[in-house]
Assembly symmetry: C2
Homo-oligomer: 401 residues x 2
Amino acid sequence: MEVIQGGVTAPRGFLAGAARCGLKKEGYDLGIILSERPAQAAAMFTTNQIVAAPIVLSREAVKRGEMRAVVVNSGNANACTGEKGYENARTMAEVAASSLGISPDEVFVASTGIIGEQLPMEKIVSGIKDAAKDLWPEIQSGHAFAQAISTTDTFIKEIAVKTKAGGHVITIGGAAKGAGMIAPNMATMLCFLTTDCLVPSKVLDRCLNHSVARSFNRISVDGHMSTNDAVLILANGESDDPVIDDATMALPIFQEALDYVTDHLAKAIIRDGEGATKFVVIEVSGAPTETYALQVARAVGNSPLVKTAINGEDPNWGRIISAAGAAGIPLDEKRLKLYIGDVLVFEGGVSAASAREKLLEEMKKKEVCIRLHLGLGKSKTEFWTCDLSHEYVTINAKYRT
Amino acid sequence: MEVIQGGVTAPRGFLAGAARCGLKKEGYDLGIILSERPAQAAAMFTTNQIVAAPIVLSREAVKRGEMRAVVVNSGNANACTGEKGYENARTMAEVAASSLGISPDEVFVASTGIIGEQLPMEKIVSGIKDAAKDLWPEIQSGHAFAQAISTTDTFIKEIAVKTKAGGHVITIGGAAKGAGMIAPNMATMLCFLTTDCLVPSKVLDRCLNHSVARSFNRISVDGHMSTNDAVLILANGESDDPVIDDATMALPIFQEALDYVTDHLAKAIIRDGEGATKFVVIEVSGAPTETYALQVARAVGNSPLVKTAINGEDPNWGRIISAAGAAGIPLDEKRLKLYIGDVLVFEGGVSAASAREKLLEEMKKKEVCIRLHLGLGKSKTEFWTCDLSHEYVTINAKYRT
């Protein structure tokens, strides 16, 4: 497998474009992806009980298993906007469809930004028309799309990979946004994935679930789950290679490439976590089940006390142990081992005799690795988070105004 | 009922004292309470899977239902300290017992402070002996005890109340500590309650559970549950009034007074929340059950995005709605109503037409009230938290070093 230049337009037969309609203070705030052929589609959405209007619409639309286009605005989430919000999401699909010469139910609609305000539809409509006029298969167009979906992101998140399966080339591209309101089970993040191979929507759905479980559902910036999260994958078969399904050897190769793409984009979101100064890996091993391991990892990764200690480069490992202990599942203190990087800090129920200097060195790294071995089984997991900084408070104390 | 001066020594027959053994940078760090007679006792402890050595010891000791004394140190939690930690907790009980002329199993031991370091026992032993020599029933002694149990607390938390039941006077006193690592189900907080009436330990246990459920289990500073929490009540019967049990009319009056005391102390902990600039009340009503209401209230109260918005006096109510929606239980957006103070901000699935100025006024208050009506039933609850400030990050990024 090889990482290649570009993002959502890297696979053949995908065009993208962006426009500025004035919802954000600056830059593109409306993006479109168009597949030249109808594409097989699969998607996953937030599990929040309160979901944004475009989620309601797109959740329904994607059930058909086929899509042609994506239209996304940033700057306004179209959430908590009632019937009118739903009408506006539908209008977005309709305007995009008529501009692109396709059907409204072939358009996947997404929004991200402030909650509780109606979309300024005049701006949105003219933005969609502008973007639809200017769609290209170039790298720059994919890049413009990635910019258009960003909010508090400080950098663009995109990737493309190429791999071979039985003489055929599989290309997958992707763009994501997200920096805050990020929690397990997909919090404010959007991710759009494209591929030019042909994977039937049911198989695609299973592959997407697999990849998301190992990437976007393993990250947390602030433990706050959003109303707007969505991950979509479109497979348009433009490569004209044989169908990839359970009968083909290409499926595990496709899965591996997709895992790589979502892994990269999820990590990019954490690296861009609001106010983040550190990338934190939490490895939990020796658990009875993977779910068990994940529950411990999440408890540690969502603890503000752990995250502030990491911000202060302070090896206050007691907070890690106590966060793990409060995960709501049985633990045996005496079997527990805790490493920070390679330094063993806790074993047999007590502090391990570790070199304080070596420990401080680990805490100074840009990437801090917390490794907990539970001693209760053979399952393990990995979870990614960031530290909690002054900057996080500054960004979020005055987001709206 | 009347609030009177003092704390744990306000009820008759309780002496208290404090000493400095040098575990904290300054001030008293070792405290003792002694009941002149054996007292009926009940206690509640952290539900963290990893518990400190004194918790293991005291959890066992209190099962007898009778206690005479309390010995507490601050500055070191004696948690994650293994067998040696347990031995040290036992030594604390033994030294206190021999200094006070009682039995070690009549001593309730508690510790609070940094996790993972062994207690400096020489200092602790001489501190216990010093404090035991200097026990008095005065208000100042209760005050010294309250100081001795404090860590990052910026003020002393104590209260005493007096009430009448059938011609008899009931007095209850209390001292608490806690400012960070505070989460539902009692996180780093210690609370010691005394009363001079006679309540059998089983009844006392039930009363304590009732009060704690409505106070210490309804608060959160940072959602992080500690290894050391404990709430203890001692009822020594020094008033020589009739026993208070299920057969007496005095029981509901005692319960009411106890509720008042724990309510006051829990709120004091939140007012002193690390870096807190606002006291936040989250009222959830219209729930199918109280547990349901509490789950929603906790989700809102533990959201860093809600807490930073309150810190910034920013009426970003979308975060409240989305936090509620992520509580993990069914909600109906259209039945939901959200008020900030008296200002309706969300109803029928959309933003309510509220006066922005009035809303900003509510956000500027020292006490911000978030009121969510779920429209799904008749149960309700209240939850108390504080905002998340730069100061919280500063305090916690460098606690240890």
